[in-house]
């Protein structure tokens, strides 16, 4: 997201209540992508996702003095981000007449089963995005081309103008990092259908490092 900062997640959490804007920048660099991703997962509009992401950091800033620095920042920020995105979604719904075709798979965000699907995906998006953002840039690009663009290793090698062996080794390293970073999802409470349950409260999740 930005220049490397010297603080670990624990140090960021401990410093966040102090109101230091350098820490705010570091928190944004660490979590801004995931915050935006969660917002987009819920509102499905880039401009409104940006508004929700902005509201997330402003609300977190306002409440920073009350944040317990011994806790992880990630679950706390996720909760604020989800709330901001839901608020933005509801604001959008009131301004624009709701077309059933625009509901994009959910018709409420307050407990209706389809809304639950969106919120479940928001949690997964948060976890995976944090893990992806922690990858080195060259490895992240290989993962993106492979999964999101659907390219094979030879196709990636051609697009990035590098040997296939390099692509494979980067892919292997990246997937090992992702598997380690997301191992807790394998052990998390699971529904019988294989969906990952969202933790309640501020249980630990993927950190930025």
């Amino acid at each position: 997201m930005g220049p490397a900062d010297p603080w670990s997640d624990r140090e960021l959490a401990a410093r966040f209540p102090d109101g230091d804007e350098r820490v705010l920048r570091a928190v944004y660099d660490r979590f801004g992508g995931a915050v935006y991703a969660v917002a987009y997962a819920i509102v499905r509009d880039q401009a409104r996702a940006a508004d929700a992401a902005q509201a997330t950091f402003v609300n977190a800033w306002r409440a920073a003095a009350r944040f317990d620095g011994s806790h992880d920042l990630a679950p706390w920020l996720f909760t604020i981000a989800r709330r901001a995105a839901i608020d933005e979604y509801r604001r959008q719904r009131r301004v624009v007449p709701t077309d059933p075709a625009d509901l994009d798979g959910f018709d409420a965000l307050d407990g209706v089963s389809r809304g639950d699907v969106v919120l479940e995906q928001a949690w997964e998006t948060w976890q995976v995005r944090l893990a992806v953002d922690s990858l080195p840039g060259d490895e992240r690009e290989v993962v993106r081309l492979s999964w999101f663009e659907g390219l094979t290793h030879p196709q990636i090698a051609s697009q990035l103008d590098m040997p296939v062996g390099t692509v494979k080794s980067r892919s292997h390293r990246a997937h090992r990092r992702l598997a380690n970073a997301l191992a807790h999802l394998r052990d998390a409470n699971r529904a019988g259908d294989g969906n990952v349950r969202q933790p309640q409260g501020d249980e630990g999740g993927v950190s930025g490092q």
Partner: protein
């Protein structure tokens, strides 16, 4: 195996990802990037946003402001009654000192699922003609356009009385609500979020009073 490697015979074992992660990696939200100026917007917004560092001190400040308003009202009443002997107006006026404005009850409000990061401290002041409830909110967002907050006192039997509305779009998050009912008889305080009339279809679960965002029960002080 990665998404695009079907049929790649040279693929050396790639660490398996937890179930469901592959589906996430195929979704646009995992890869979408925020606008380049997003942090600048955030920085500009936080510059003008006060942090809620010491909400307890705002109780005294709110009481002092309210005492001044009460004193001004009492003075206006004296002027209006000029020419008549109205004994005891000065004696019955509001306390001169905020230190003498002692709460008869205090409570803490916790955020519901709709506002999990919000909380509020409340002091209840007996003003003789009713009860003032001074709320110092923390982490409760301004009411969205077209909506507002409302306070409700509820009895054990479930009867509820409205004690006022607010929106939090300016100020420091301190709100003064008024109750005409005895606090001991209506010990639960709920803050709900409601739509400005005319309303669309009621929000699910609203119960007609809006969606609860803060809830707490009164404990009388000594």
């Amino acid at each position: 195996m990665s998404g695009g490697d079907a049929g790649d015979e040279d693929e050396v074992g790639v660490p398996d990802l937890p179930p469901g992660v592959d589906a996430s990696l195929r979704r646009a939200d995992v890869w979408t990037a925020p606008p380049a100026d997003l942090f600048d917007r955030i920085a500009a917004a936080v510059t003008s946003t006060p942090r809620t560092d010491a909400p307890d001190s705002r109780f005294a400040a709110a009481r002092r402001r309210w005492v001044l308003v009460g004193a001004a009202a009492a003075a206006a009443l004296v002027l209006f009654a000029a020419g008549f002997v109205v004994r005891g107006i000065a004696d019955d006026g509001p306390d001169e000192s905020a230190d003498e404005d002692t709460p008869v009850a205090q409570l803490a409000l916790a955020g519901t699922d709709l506002a999990p990061m919000a909380k509020a401290g409340v002091e209840v002041l007996d003003r003789g003609d009713g009860f003032a409830l001074v709320l110092v909110t923390d982490g409760l967002a301004p009411a969205p356009d077209g909506m507002y907050y409302e306070g409700w006192l509820r009895s054990v039997a479930g009867d509820s009385v409205s004690i006022g509305t607010f929106h939090l779009r300016d100020g420091d998050g301190t709100v003064v609500l008024w109750s005409g009912v005895a606090i001991d008889d209506f010990p639960t305080l709920t803050i709900t979020l409601r739509a400005v009339p005319p309303r669309e279809a009621a929000e699910p679960g609203s119960g007609g009073e809006g969606e609860p965002v803060l809830v707490g029960s009164l404990d009388a002080t000594a």
